[in-house]
Symmetry: C2
Subunit: 136 residues, 2 copies
DNA sequence: TTAAATGCAAAGCATTTGCTAAAGG
DNA sequence: CCTTTAGCAAATGCTTTGCATTTAA
């Protein structure tokens, strides 16, 4: 079982309470991009006394520590994923809402160079593509 | 005076009411990325009877018609800009909040090709870079 | 004339917060 | 112990909506 998020919490000096441990586990096991409500649902399957407010507070804390990254992906709700999953971007199928992750170091480099010509050193790169299944 | 947004509204068969004309003018004159509240403020300088609800309804309508594009740029409020300003992306200075626009057809092409390898035809491309003034 | 648009206030979501009780180190 | 955290419910902030009225075409 993967407990990397919990380990990261400990390394960051966070108090490992019951709820926090459960949320860390849910995050570690997720392979998708759950929103807060979904995280709450999954956490409650393990311990149904965990409140939504705690989930919100936890993801906000973990984001501040750099453990999680927040994504918007068009919808109204924020989605979270472990920051450690490497630099990747999102390709969203508008019809199904399905999200594909991809990497592209060349594009990253190109963007960093562009930023530099504007005098900025890039820190965070967000790329989101929205499209639909080709007719073909 | 530039009234391009109003022209686009007419071409799209939209009824040109007083409020709508004012909002169109405000949008045409904007060179930045105003949020809805700011659009409302600017519209009210011209006619203070225009309600916030109308501004919301109008930007939503214009977005549906493809006349406006919505941007998130990190904050929780939606920001709008004319779609006709060419495909451009945003480089945000984290310290000042200043937004620089840039274009990069090569990167766009590269991303379209990547999407195609995943069987999707890209429709919308969003790129946001966040960085800070280089130490030099 | 008549369907569409407006204003207002109320409702809706997602998210945050104040407060008190509980619990980790 | 003593600070941090959890739970709850109320508050917040942005956005949408219902309804009666006005307006453009």
């Amino acid at each position: 079982m993967d407990i990397s998020i919990e380990r990261l919490c400990i390394e960051n000096g966070l108090k490992m309470t019951g709820p926090r441990r459960v949320i860390a586990r849910v995050l570690s096991e997720a392979t998708d991009h759950p929103d807060v409500e979904e995280l709450h649902r999954r956490a409650n399957r393990i311990d149904n006394r965990i409140s939504l407010a705690t989930v919100y507070r936890t993801v906000r804390l973990l984001e501040a520590k750099g453990i999680l990254s927040r994504r918007d992906l068009g919808s109204r709700r924020a989605r979270y994923e472990p920051s450690g999953d490497g630099n990747h971007f999102h390709l969203v199928d508008k019809e199904t809402g399905n999200v594909i992750e991809f990497e592209t170091p060349e594009v990253e480099d190109a963007l960093r160079i562009i930023a530099r010509t504007h005098g900025l050193e890039v820190d965070v790169i967000k790329i989101e593509l929205f499209g639909r299944r080709s007719a073909k």
